[in-house]
């Protein structure tokens, strides 16, 4: 049976990169005594996939991984066991059963992500940057140079920004995410900086991912729902 685990990553754990987080969860799942399924062969590996890698330095309230399990425990029990195996800086918040099959994969479904961006103390842009940001968002197209494996290419990122606004003393962004179209918040902020004819100083941003979404709408109309909501709570343990 497939299970979707949602977790938070905060504090000093932001220095642990994606590949190491995968290794961390592999070991944590074993410590928690979760009956995870393995692939066959001489070096069996856990059947586990993460929705989206989170860059080093970023924190998050909405990370996901899908795992395949044999014995099924209640959502509550799985969350409890996993949290006993966590270190400070990672917290499992939910665990839900999801439909079998590749189509339900978090990675395949993912369509958007929410981010909260703050400027580090002393690294804020000039005064009234909020007004500039509203104007920046009002543009019909935002052309950026995107570095790819083959070199650089011009790209209009405006269609990939689903929402963008000033929020408190920071910025809220809802951006395209996933395997087909993906926009990083850093790229939006770089584009904003060049729009104001400035450059962001090193380590100017504090980026926090809030949630990851799947698109359950049609080709014409997008309908974003948190990845978590595609699963159902497992009430009692059963085989």
């Amino acid at each position: 049976m497939k299970i979707r685990v949602k977790f938070r990553k905060y504090g000093e754990m932001k220095f642990i990169g994606h590949l190491d987080m995968m290794r961390y969860f592999q070991k944590a799942i074993r410590r928690a005594g979760i009956d995870i399924c393995y692939s066959g062969g001489f070096s069996p590996h856990m059947i586990m996939s993460f929705a989206s890698p989170l860059g080093v330095g970023l924190t998050s309230d909405g990370e996901y991984l899908d795992i395949e399990v044999g014995e099924v425990l209640s959502s509550e029990e799985t969350v409890r066991r996993l949290n006993q195996a966590m270190v400070e800086g990672v917290e499992v918040v939910s665990c839900r059963r999801i439909p079998d099959g590749k189509a339900s994969n978090a990675m395949a479904l993912m369509a958007a992500a929410d981010y909260e961006v703050h400027f580090r103390e002393g690294k804020e842009p000039k005064k009234h940057w909020q007004e500039d940001f509203e104007k920046f968002c009002g543009q019909s197209s935002i052309m950026v140079l995107k570095k790819t494996k083959k070199g650089e290419r011009e790209l209009d990122i405006r269609p990939l920004i689903y929402e963008a606004r000033v929020q408190g003393n920071g910025i809220f962004l809802k951006l395209a995410a996933g395997s087909s179209e993906n926009l990083k918040p850093e790229l939006v902020m770089d584009a904003f900086a060049s729009y104001t004819k400035t450059e962001l100083p090193e380590f100017a941003l504090l980026i926090h991912r809030q949630e990851l979404y799947a698109d359950v709408g049609t080709d014409k109309k997008q309908c974003l729902v948190p990845l978590e909501s595609l699963g159902e709570v497992i009430e009692t343990a059963r085989q």
Binding site: E12, Y24, R30, G41
Partner: protein, 620 residues
């Protein structure tokens, strides 16, 4: 939540910030206001190396079991962070509390190989602890060294307050108790060190005076204070089964060299290879009880979540209950996706059967360490591996589907001739020939024989401590001879030859059998920028040579000089267990090409019997 010693702008700039943040699974956190002694344990190399070391895991666990001690860790900052700490004048810190190392009561540094000595100075320097013990004051931590290189601590004598000689499990409690009283009563640092010298296994270098003959050899080494013992006796655990062993080893976030549960099945080795320091120093061979190992395996796999368990010992095949243990591990853990790795295993029907069950035959290789190419030279070094055994093992493996073989040798062994060197290639050729005897349709492609040679370094407390070491040029010439001979073989296309760096080996030889006069040489090399000398990318041979010239250090005195039977060695003040008489007897037997039976076959009266444990008290 703790505050990290380094801020984001530093941690996001350097390679692998996870090396410096602590917080690993099973790391121990205590309230520092409620502990009497803060101990910082250091492995003076990169985090990934240090975290793979079993000894530190044992001591970390042992110290932290004491309520009055909080033991934390520190590793060498890589060159990127090293530069930043110096530039920003930030002190080196321990991983758990992130507090400066300078604030600790003890800094314990494990000495696993000679080429980490500049890293020892880096740790002291970045911690802002005076490099020389003589310059330290009441508030500085007590700097204590241990580990295999502490069996000749003399090149580092000036930089350490104490050395612990032998296995850590036995005397640390006494030392910590003594320190606690010293701290409470506020006695001076000197008084504490003097009292510490009375604890078995503790060596206080500042309490000894060394005099030299005109030819540079040691004339005498005498205690300067009557309380200090003439001889420091190496410590050994008598019963390994009841000795402490971690139930919850640390689990790093980043991939380290030894990313698995390590089960130490025995200590010591019965074989008596004459080049091998560990084989002489860790006598007597002591086994851990099967039941204890099984329980340990469960505990550690459950508490770490590791997906691999490795058996650790100098020669696993000599563990008397090996089949039982391996069968147990396979039955209980294979189904849970746990891999079992069995290094240092003799290749025979049993090990091949086990290997075929736990790894993919097509991908894995079998390993032999004949150490010398000819039978004559193998007799000299007392390596009981014969050509017949190697060919039979390789043959069985080939028939079982393996086609990769790794061979390990040493070059520059005592009495080694050109013929011995060429025999390395000939042995590889015979193995290849054995492979191609299998009918074509039954073998899978070509075989791959990888030959690796390292250069021989004579080590203290081995029968070869009297041996002359080769020069850099001699080493490289020997590697060249092997390389040419490999290329002259019929099956050369199935062979690959790798050899080790010679410059590093020479320095290793200098420090291995060095004395206290080397401290200025070491310090100069460090001041010139030598660091991480065991890493090819950071080793700076030319700086070492400059340091030698500037400090008028004659490296050849330590390496290529012939030593007389009755020369007093700088490490002779240590009573290691095996006697000098036994070692010299073995040296003579080596020169006579006479093999010595192993401990299980026949006792040789080496001296380790006085520990009254392990193989020495078992019925043979």
């Amino acid at each position: 939540m703790r505050k990290l010693a380094l801020d984001d702008s530093i941690l996001l700039k350097i390679e692998k910030p996870a090396r410096y943040i602590g917080n690993e699974i099973n790391a121990v956190y205590k309230d520092k206001s409620k502990t009497d002694i803060r101990f910082c344990m250091c492995f003076p190399d990169l985090y990934e190396i240090g975290m793979s070391h079993l000894g530190i895991q044992i001591l970390y666990d042992m110290f932290n079991q004491r309520e009055d001690v909080w033991c934390e860790r520190v590793y060498s900052p890589w060159v990127d962070l090293d530069g930043i700490l110096r530039e920003k004048k930030l002190p080196l810190f321990a991983l758990e509390s992130q507090d400066p190392v300078k604030d600790f009561d003890f800094l314990g540094i494990t000495l696993q190989y000679e080429m980490c000595y500049t890293n020892v100075l880096q740790i002291l320097d970045l911690s802002r602890i005076p490099l020389r013990a003589a310059d330290r004051g009441q508030k500085d931590p007590i700097v204590i060294g241990g580990g295999p290189c502490a069996c000749n601590p003399e090149p580092l004598a000036d930089f350490f307050d104490l050395f612990y000689i032998g296995e850590g499990e036995t005397s640390y409690d006494a030392l910590l108790d003594l320190y606690k009283n010293h701290k409470k009563s506020g006695t001076s640092r000197e008084d504490f060190l003097l009292a510490a010298s009375g604890i078995p296994g503790i060596y206080v270098p500042s309490l000894y005076k060394v005099t030299y003959h005109p030819d540079g050899t040691v004339a005498a080494m005498k205690p300067a204070k009557p309380q200090a013992p003439e001889k420091v006796r190496r410590q050994a655990v008598s019963d390994l089964t009841s000795a402490v062993y971690p139930k919850k080893p640390l689990v790093p976030f980043i991939k380290v060299t030894q990313d698995r549960v390590v089960l130490e099945i025995q200590r010591g080795c019965i074989r008596g290879c004459r080049f091998c320091q560990a084989g002489m120093m860790y006598r007597p061979t002591r086994e851990r009880d099967l039941k204890m190992l099984e329980e340990s395996a469960h505990n550690m796999l459950e508490s770490t979540g590791h997906e691999e368990i490795s058996l650790s010992s100098l020669s696993s095949s000599d563990y008397s209950k090996l089949p039982e243990l391996v069968t147990y591990l396979m039955e209980h853990f294979r189904g849970q996706g746990v891999n079992i790795s069995l290094p240092s295993l003799r290749i025979d029907a049993f090990s091949l059967d086990v290997m075929s069950k736990i790894q993919d035959v097509r991908k894995s290789s079998i390993t032999f360490a004949p150490e010398a190419g000819s039978q004559r030279l193998r007799d000299v070094i007392n390596k009981g591996l014969t050509e017949e055994v190697i060919l039979e093992g390789a043959g069985t493996a080939f028939d079982g589907g393996w086609n990769k073989v790794k061979l390990y040798f040493m070059l520059g062994l005592p009495t080694e001739t050109e013929e011995d060197q060429k025999e390395i290639a000939h042995l590889a050729e015979k193995i290849a020939k054995r492979y191609y005897e299998i009918p074509k349709e039954r073998r899978c492609g070509k075989c791959q024989i990888t030959i690796s040679t390292s250069f021989f370094v004579p080590k203290p407390f081995t029968p070869f401590q009297w041996a002359r070491m080769c020069t850099r040029e001699e080493f490289l010439e020997r590697a060249y001879t092997v390389n040419m001979e490999v290329k002259a073989q019929l099956n050369r296309k199935s062979m690959k030859y790798n050899w080790h760096e010679a410059d590093v080996t020479v320095l290793e030889g200098v420090f291995a059998r060095g004395d206290r006069r080397l401290s200025s040489f070491l310090l100069r090399a460090y001041e010139k920028g030598c660091l991480f000398d065991s890493w090819t990318e950071t080793f700076q041979g030319e700086l070492w040579m400059e340091a030698a010239a500037e400090t008028e250090t004659d490296l050849m005195f330590y390496t290529t000089r012939n030593r007389e039977k009755d020369e007093l060695f700088p490490w002779d003040f240590i009573d290691i267990g095996v006697t000098k008489g036994f070692l010299y007897r073995e040296w003579e037997r080596a020169l006579n090409e006479t093999v010595t039976p192993n401990c299980r076959q026949q006792c040789q009266g080496c001296g380790a019997g006085r520990y009254e444990s392990g193989i020495c008290v078992e019925s043979r």
